[in-house]
Symmetry: C2
Subunit: 131 residues, 2 copies
């Protein structure tokens, strides 16, 4: 059976990665250029393994890759997932603005009928209760 709504695991991981202040700070730092884990971890009072795990989350989200240069593992930013996140926000904005466009007509409509916005809800709602 097909899902009735978009399943986007990459977008899930991207937004989840952005939901932690340490990882956001790391990404901002990486926007300026590659950096080693120790440099990325320096601003945080947090153990070295914790930093390593945050980098792992960023890597799983496709936001960075870790390369090798001697004992350093410089992290390089990949911004494609962020573009995807941005696309979602743009799609949202588009829907929002479409709605504003429709509002003009809707306000006209209100002048002619009841202003109880839930009336339509009641009429439409019967066909799709969950249980």
């Amino acid at each position: 059976m097909e899902a009735a709504y978009p399943i986007q695991p990459e977008l899930d991981r991207t937004f989840a990665a952005l939901a932690h202040p340490v990882r956001r700070a790391m990404l901002l730092r990486l926007a300026a250029g590659p950096a080693s884990p120790s440099e990325l971890g320096a601003p945080f009072r947090m153990s070295q393994p914790a930093i390593s795990r945050h980098l792992h989350v960023l890597e799983e989200a496709g936001l960075i890759t870790r390369e090798r240069s001697a004992q350093w593992r410089p992290c390089v930013l990949h911004k494609d997932p962020l573009l995807e996140a941005d696309s979602w926000l743009m799609e949202f904005r588009r829907s929002w603005e479409e709605r504003l466009d429709r509002l003009d007509g809707y306000i006209e409509h209100l002048h002619e009928t009841s202003s109880d916005i839930m009336q339509k809800e009641r009429e439409d709602g019967r066909e799709h209760t969950n249980g």
Copy 2:
């Protein structure tokens, strides 16, 4: 002691809210106008309490408010947190582009010195190891 990096719990909650496909779908639906929990939950094969909890997450993130109209609790979108999320992405993009601007000069620099990008890392790194 002050944190060495920006702590933004609202942004944390916003991105975390966006990290679930059901909640993203709900927000897109709400961009078109208010809706009841049952309407919002209709597309998903998921119990009604689960829907209610997702709405709670959106409410905690400030993305919706739940009003009362008889036994219905119409959900209304508030897009301010999404604007904040968008701002973060814009800040990121700004840093990214600043970096590209600097790259021109950097490439000049490479022609004069070693191309081992980690050399600088080694020199800078000593003063801030964690542990």
